[in-house]
């Protein structure tokens, strides 16, 4: 009974290889097809299970299609379901055979059991055969009007399926408009959620060739709709809540009171056990408050505890997803998390991908007051048996050293690493000491004393070797053996596989030559000869360049190779602030986990609903080309000011919109809510005549939606009707706002 495990991979005699068994099955099914003997359903069940199990492991059982359809004339629902599953899997590849199934599926769509109606409708729409779409329209239409909510949820998703098979058929049947009406009136929240999901997908895909669709898509963000969803948020399932919150995060409220009201209403969502709901709520909070510096900062304070709780409950995988988001926030505003550093300590049994994020956070939050403790903790990890972890920890110590003013103690620790005499520790440390010296040349005496004791034979990793060679060249006047070490390295030129190391060797021997010519002359000659004969283009070119430079003028050569150097003050960030902002805008998505904006890893057609980044991408590239100064300034200011300054509110408003808010830019924002509102009103009225029989709660929904009675005439209202959020929130608006103003802030500046 159990599916054969590795049927495909190991065709041993005991395992079915596929072919013979399938024709056996075919014969047996045929036998049962017409039979009405008692117990025949049980035998069918066993055969069907075999078919499905073969299908699962990848054996092609499409040849029994006809027999399966013949056997499907049954009232046994388990058999029906297996048959639907089978048909859904093979119909696409066998459109002619799929036609055979239409008949019984259509019949089942009219069954008196709503369960069968729903199942049949779902299977009918899952056939994915373009020339059968004409058979879908009728059943889908009645499915939307079905009295049973299960059938309606299936029908709504069925319409989305139809759209993907044949967009024209779907649009021509006016299904999107019907979905919209259903979304505003159905008493069942899962039906509503499915309508929202389907409409987002359809209108986003249609928006590129239909202005109406793009207007409809924008209307989803209108105040009446957003309030309609918000007021019912707790009736939705947790998954549907995530969908709704994702929509709300794109909404632009008209004033601060509205922002506070929405936050007040949603605050208890932060206590949800489902991380997806919490992260979606956090996104709403972060997006809503972009224009209010002080509140935005308080949002960071408010969401810390729920985030930390989510990180420490649930599976490592769930923690990782949440931790990635915490990581993003920490990187954006390290100062706000500097007293929480102990939460980022690694636990021994955590997977490496979690530890890596934590190390980066520890590095980011290190400041004068906590560096000692953080570095002590990191040094423990550096002695770890887990080598990748040890390496990462050493790098983290180095990064902290590079960002601190007082690096005394850290340099000592780094130098102690070298004394551990472990090759990988030495290698990582050398790379760091090199970077440290570029920033703090004043430490050269101490470092050189220790580095000088390392035997170059113990350093094999190219990056470390290159670092050591760089130091030999740069500090050759202080390192007694420098010319001789370089000389011995050059003697082994042939064995040096890394071109990076050979390049560094050329430069180092040049530097050394100008400082200690008599001792280095021979080594330089050998190096240039070896370099000119090198098969690597860069190495060859550099050797040739040095050679000609020396021939041309030795003084000039010295100026080129050994110019007076300024200490590096800040090492370049690997990611531009513009990219960081894009990732922040895509909070609660894969962009945060991958640390890349979505356009870098998704195809254009899969950007998902409300992904405005195409337009945004073009827009910002255009702006870049025209004026490179302004965007850079904007983004930079945005990164720092938004979280730190508390006084520049006026300036902030405009800017926040132009950089972070640009995804839903001006035209949408300014369009008054009146257009969509009146549209909805008229829709509602149409609908009461058409649907009210099936959906008795429709009138309630209208009340809910507009706060207006049914008596409202569709006469165009001169001003948008006043909308309000239901007073379901925990606190009254005044108290809530007061509370936010009083949240303690760790910021000392």
């Amino acid at each position: 009974m159990a599916p054969p495990g590795q049927a495909q991979r190991s065709p041993s005699p005991s395992q079915p290889s596929g072919k013979g068994e399938v024709s056996d099955l075919k014969a047996q099914l045929r036998q049962l097809a017409g039979s009405r003997a008692p117990g025949v359903d049980d035998s069918k069940r066993d055969l069907f299970k075999k078919v499905i199990s073969y299908m699962t492991v990848g054996i092609d059982v499409s040849s029994v299609f006809g027999e399966m359809v013949m056997c499907s004339a049954t009232s046994d629902i388990v058999l029906k379901k297996m048959c639907y599953l089978y048909v859904g899997n093979y119909a696409k590849g066998n459109p002619d055979l799929a036609l055979l199934t239409i008949n019984f599926l259509q019949r089942d769509c009219k069954d008196e059991d709503p369960m069968i109606r729903g199942l049949a409708l779902r299977s009918l729409c899952s056939l994915r055969v373009a020339n059968l779409v004409e058979y879908l329209v009728g059943p889908l239409g009645s499915g939307l009007r079905d009295g049973n909510s299960y059938v309606r949820t299936v029908a709504v998703i069925g319409i989305l399926k139809l759209y993907h098979i044949s967009a024209v058929t779907c649009i021509d049947a006016d299904f999107p408009a019907m979905l919209k009406r259903l979304m505003l009136n159905d008493p069942d929240t899962q039906v509503i959620a499915n309508c929202l999901a389907a409409l987002q997908e359809i209108w986003t895909l249609e928006a590129s060739n239909s202005e109406e669709a793009s207007r409809e898509r924008e209307a989803l963000l209108s105040k009446p709709l957003i309030y309609y969803f918000l007021n019912r948020i707790k009736e939705f399932s947790e998954w549907a809540q995530s969908l709704v919150l994702e929509l709300v995060a794109k909404y632009v409220p008209s004033d601060n009171n509205e922002i506070f009201d929405i936050m007040n209403l949603l605050e208890d969502r932060l206590q949800h056990a489902n991380g997806a709901v919490v992260l979606a709520t956090i996104k709403v909070f972060l997006q809503l408050t972009l224009s209010m510096n002080d509140v935005h900062q308080q949002v960071y304070e408010r969401i810390k505890a729920p985030l930390l709780t989510l990180v420490s409950s649930g599976s490592p995988e769930q923690s990782y997803a949440v931790l990635s988001h915490l990581h993003l926030l920490v990187m954006r505003a390290p100062i706000l998390f500097s007293s929480d550093y102990k939460h980022f300590y690694c636990q021994y049994n955590e997977p490496f991908y979690v530890k890596k994020l934590k190390l980066e956070m520890l590095t980011a939050v290190a400041n004068e007051s906590n560096t000692y403790e953080i570095v002590t903790e990191l040094c423990e990890y550096a002695a770890n048996v887990d080598i990748p972890m040890a390496r990462e920890s050493i790098r983290a110590v180095g990064k902290i050293a590079l960002q601190q003013y007082d690096v005394n103690a850290i340099v000592d620790r780094l130098l102690q690493f070298l004394e551990m005499e472990k090759d990988y520790v030495t290698a990582e440390t050398l790379v760091l000491v090199k970077d440290l010296l570029r920033k703090y040349p004043q430490w050269s005496q101490d470092c050189i004393a220790v580095v000088g004791n390392i035997s170059s034979k113990n350093v094999q990793e190219p990056k470390a070797k290159a670092a050591l060679i760089w130091m030999l060249g740069e500090y050759s006047q202080d390192m007694h053996d420098a010319p001789y070490i370089l000389e011995s390295l050059i003697e082994n030129w042939e064995d040096e596989h890394s071109s990076e190391v050979r390049l560094h060797l050329l430069t180092a021997v040049m530097k050394c030559f100008f400082k200690r010519p008599p001792e280095t002359q021979k080594a330089l000659g050998d190096a240039l000869a070896a370099g000119l004969a090198d098969f690597h283009q860069d190495v060859h070119d550099r050797a040739l360049f040095y050679y000609r430079l020396l021939q041309y003028n030795v003084t000039v050569a010295e100026r080129v190779v050994n110019p007076p150097k300024q200490a590096v003050s800040v090492f370049a960030d690997t990611q531009s602030s513009e990219i960081k902002d894009r990732i922040f805008d895509e909070f609660n998505s894969l962009s945060v986990v991958y640390q890349k904006p979505s356009y870098m890893f998704t195809d254009k057609e899969h950007r998902g609903p409300f992904e405005f980044s195409d337009e945004l991408g073009n827009l910002s590239i255009g702006a870049d080309a025209a004026d490179t100064v302004v965007p850079a300034h904007q983004v930079d200011a945005n990164d720092k000011d938004l979280l730190l300054s508390t006084s520049e509110t006026e300036k902030e408003d405009g800017r926040a919109l132009s950089s972070n808010g640009s995804a839903y830019s001006a035209p949408l924002y300014d369009a008054p809510a009146s257009v969509p509102a009146s549209q909805i009103q008229s829709d509602l009225v149409n609908l009461t005549s058409g649907l009210s029989g099936h959906v008795p709660a429709a009138s309630l929904a209208i009340d809910d939606l507009l706060g207006l009675g049914l008596s409202v005439t569709p006469a165009p209202a001169p001003s948008p009707p006043s909308l309000s959020l239901n007073p379901k929130a925990v606190l009254d608006p005044g108290t809530f706002q007061q509370k936010w103003r009083q949240l303690p802030i760790s910021l000392t500046q």
Partner: protein, 398 residues
């Protein structure tokens, strides 16, 4: 929205495979398995694949539960939390229905699993993950597997292998199984499970301490009665001030339990929580966490572990681990495992009782360079103590 869902065995066999949208090519299971098995990062091998990664525009999500890989794929930029949460939830729903989650039970019941998957997700969108709601759509009867034949789940497994599960006497009955006598037993199981993380300095001083806990419920009640769960009356949430560490003293000794933060299952209503610390809920069928909480308030760790390493020359060392049970002699801890990684030579495990000392002599085949003390450890310890929890959180009545 997701495109495909599948479950793979440890060897990479397809146990269940469902394609919801037909947007991802068929070979995705093999692509996924190869990637996970031979994950490389920065050229380093044997790193663990992260739960989410992208190969050729396809995003792969996976969680490991009971040695199985639950995987979803999509081409769209979705919320990673949502998908990982969903995978975990699907595993739990399947467990609710099969009673036991294992490769064997999945293979025996794959048709039932397909029934579930059909209702949980439609065209990539989650419809419901409620064990309760799903009941009316499930027509297959679960085929029980012998729970006794399952490898025992160590208590460590609760935290190390994904979702927190009930230890020891784990309930392995399907929510739709019929009792032999034909009548249903009205049962509900409530457990408090806590993970304790404490770091001691070499002098025995506590450096960091945290409790991550969960109140788990598994309900077999019929008729959906409303249940009230009363917690300690002196229970505070949020530490008032900002400093999460350092103000231990303020609340210690008063008997009050101060949680840093907590969250609740969606069925929980908190109407009277502020008044009398009572959670009201109509427990849905199956297993679910009622409440997760986190606490950094000072607490008395159940054990004190001291480790001493003495080096005796270049080829020898002695390790002494002392475990002292700090709780009342009327309760006993069991399934204790103490682990201590030692530098590349060996890993030892011992089982101890209420007060135990391990003395291990180590001999090395190669000369050490004086770093044994640094490279050893940390000592970690897992254990189960029935009827005891460190935070002091109690379910008084329910």
């Amino acid at each position: 929205m997701i495109s495909q869902f599948f479950v793979l065995s440890q060897r990479g066999d397809n146990i269940v495979f469902r394609d919801y949208r037909g947007e991802v090519q068929k070979g995705s299971t093999e692509t996924f398995f190869r990637k996970v098995k031979f994950w490389k990062e920065d050229g380093q091998e044997e790193a663990q694949a992260p739960p989410v990664f992208n190969v050729d525009g396809v995003n792969y999500f996976h969680v490991k539960v009971a040695g199985l890989l639950f995987v979803a794929t999509t081409r769209v930029n979705v919320s990673p939390s949502l998908v990982l949460e969903l995978l975990q939830r699907i595993a739990r729903v399947i467990k609710d229905y099969l009673g036991v989650l294992s490769e064997d039970s999945l293979r025996k019941n794959f048709v039932l699993v397909y029934e579930l998957l059909d209702e949980v997700i439609d065209f990539g969108y989650v419809q419901t993950t409620s064990t309760e709601v799903l009941k009316s759509y499930i027509f297959n009867e679960p085929i029980a597997v012998d729970a006794a034949r399952l490898p025992p789940l160590g208590p460590a497994a609760i935290f190390m292998q994904g979702s927190k599960r009930m230890p020891g006497t784990a309930v392995t009955k399907s929510v739709i199984a019929n009792e032999p006598a034909g009548r249903k037993r009205e049962e509900i199981f409530v457990d408090i499970i806590e993970k304790i993380s404490v770091t001691f300095s070499s002098s025995g001083y506590i450096l960091t301490s945290e409790i991550d806990g969960t109140i788990q419920m598994k309900s077999y009640l019929s008729g959906n009665p409303e249940i009230r769960v009363a917690l300690n009356e002196e229970l505070n949430i949020g530490r008032g001030g900002r400093s999460l560490y350092g103000n231990y003293r303020s609340s210690a000794g008063s008997g009050a339990v101060v949680l840093d933060d907590c969250n609740f299952h969606e069925s929980v209503r908190l109407d009277s929580f502020d008044m009398d610390r009572t959670l009201t809920l109509v427990p849905p069928d199956g297993e679910f966490p009622v409440m997760n909480y986190r606490m950094t308030q000072e607490f008395r760790p159940p054990f004190r572990v001291t480790a001493l390493i003495e080096e005796a020359g270049n080829l020898k060392a002695e390790v002494i681990i002392k475990v002292r049970a700090e709780f009342s002699s009327s309760i006993t801890a069991n399934t204790i495992v103490v682990q201590m990684p030692l530098p590349k030579y060996t890993t030892r495990e011992i089982v101890g009782g209420s007060e135990n000392t391990l003395r291990a002599k180590l001999s090395f085949s190669q000369e050490s360079h004086g770093n044994i003390t640094k490279e050893s450890g940390p000592v970690s310890m897992t254990f189960t103590i029935p009827m005891y929890n460190a935070s002091g959180l109690q379910v008084i009545k329910s």
